[in-house]
Amino acid sequence: MDKVLVFVETKGDEPRKASLELLCEAEKLAASGRFSVEAVCFGAMSDALKGKLLASARKLVRFTDPELAVYSPEGYARALAGYAAETGARMVLAGATGTGRDFLPRVAVMLGTGMVSDVTGANWFDDPMTFVRPMFGGKVFAEVAAPASPVVVTARPNSFAMDIPEGINGEYEERAAGSLADAIHTRVVRVEETKGDAVDLTEADLIVAGGRGLKAAENFRLIEDLAAAIGGTVGATRSVVDAKWRDQADQIGKSGKTVSPKLYIGAGISGAIHHIMGMDTSKVVLVVNRDPNAIIFNYANYGIVGDLFEVLPAMTEEIGKRKGRG
């Protein structure tokens, strides 16, 4: 049986969504009988987190090296590539999160293999395996074959269904990679949490984004209120980030983040190509704009031609009523 390693990122007592999606996908591979799947975790792990992971993976391997308590590209790559080499893994998977995209390329080189980054689809049972990934900011998708082994892949969050398997009670193993201290040449001096516990945009299911049409930074309250009503995350266009109305971390688009939520609501956004590139893989898109000719209507499922200062509060109120009742 071919071994599949899924690198799992965690935050507090929770696995990250991108990791959980991959574990769900990997469980389908395990269920086929052709692959054996192991979730690989680094650093501390609470009992609650362990319980959640053992319900989603048939085997969980945690590396206990103290050097892995904090992220370092070299340390993480050494531990993951070392384990993949030792176990003869056929595939190494990780979420295409900031962290995953940062160190998996090093893993690929350590294993002498190539990688396929930011995939949105996979044909696991083809020979060679093929993957689908966006290029040119999503203007086209490439079908990429990976004839070398192992295959190193990062998968875009929200690309694989979160079908939590039932009846899994995985086995647990602790290991140490060993001799990591000499391999790590970076040192984290301090961490500034800028976003608190808010869901990262790239992993958000529901996003409400605002643009220049909001007219002023304080009017983003309308976006925040609607986001709060639906339990969503706030996004922004480049122009409002450049105008310092919102933090860089909120920027959706070519020079910001690429998002694929279940729902994207955009208000006061004209639809510049660099913004479209960051949101066009969203499932349902609803936009509000005064200008019926705004380009963003071409990239939407639903459109309201109207004044966002009237429409947004009315939507917030209506959804509040419906959900409150619901």
């Binding site: 390329p105 090093r106 980054s117 086209v140």
Partner: protein, 260 residues
């Protein structure tokens, strides 16, 4: 401080990209630009040199046209440039590209390698980290602030939204993120200089690599075809006054699409 900057020429962000009839290739409108994120890398290199002295050298890998990206680098203020000229290799996978770049970098004396965090054509975001691994160097990714002193760097990275300040001894590789700086517009004198300068070209064989080792058919991953993005159905406009339209939108999201 000797700084190497990896620069990629990419199609202009506004260039038309279409899938060829065979679906095996792309028809790309021939308008080119320096990769957006590489401009941040270049600008940072120039600023470090202005403060600390030294030399900035731009390295690119691409077809004959890529020389234009290096001319832009010179026009902005880079001291030197070199092109690894190989159109086939440029179309290869991240591993091969990084391998060739690392071989070119090995020939240089340097303290810092700067590159954009991602090229806006292939969107892989793999090459700088792979180069670091090939060279056995540390890297800090997605850097929004970089301070160099005493042979060390303090790099502020925004990998996951939260900002992390990372200390690393040089030499090291850094990938530039938007926010690092505002790239300068080349002065006319720089442009004049760039037009005249002779930019050396090297072939992969000069780097000690076998020509066919980096051929697409020997790539560890390869593109076998292209697909169009999923087409969204035509927009459905929700009619009515603001209040009415808002209520209908809420109904659609809750009852029809069931997304909230």
């Amino acid at each position: 401080m000797n700084i190497l900057v990896l620069v990629k020429q990419v199609p202009d962000p506004e260039a038309l990209v279409e899938i060829a009839a065979s679906s095996k290739g792309l028809n790309i409108e021939p308008r080119f630009a320096v990769n957006l994120f590489d401009e941040f890398a270049l600008e940072e290199a120039l600023r470090i040199r202005e403060k600390q002295g030294g030399k900035v050298k731009a390295i690119s890998l691409g077809g004959p046209k890529a020389i234009e990206a290096l001319r832009t680098a010179i026009a902005m203020g880079a001291d030197e440039a070199v092109l690894i000229e190989d159109e086939t290799l440029a179309a290869s996978d991240g591993y091969n590209v990084a391998l060739a770049l690392s071989k070119a970098i090995e020939k240089e004396t340097f303290d810092i390698v700067l590159a954009g965090r991602q090229a806006i054509d292939a969107d892989r975001g793999e090459v700088p980290q792979m180069v670091a691994q090939f060279l056995g160097l540390p890297h800090v990714g997605v850097v929004v602030k970089l301070d160099i002193s005493d042979g060390k760097a303090l790099a502020e990275s925004s990998l996951e939204g939260a900002k992390e300040v990372v200390e690393v001894a040089l030499p090291a590789v850094f990938t530039a993120q938007k926010g690092l700086n505002e790239p300068r517009v080349p002065l006319i004198t720089g442009v004049m200089k760039a037009m005249k300068v002779q930019i050396p070209k090297v072939a992969v064989e000069d780097l000690g690599l076998a020509k066919d080792m980096v051929a697409p058919e020997n790539s560890k991953t390869k593109i076998v075809g292209y697909l169009p993005p999923k087409k969204r159905p035509a927009v459905q406009l929700i009619p009515g006054e603001a209040r009415e339209a808002a209520a209908e939108a809420a109904r659609i999201l809750i009852d029809v699409e069931r997304v909230i």
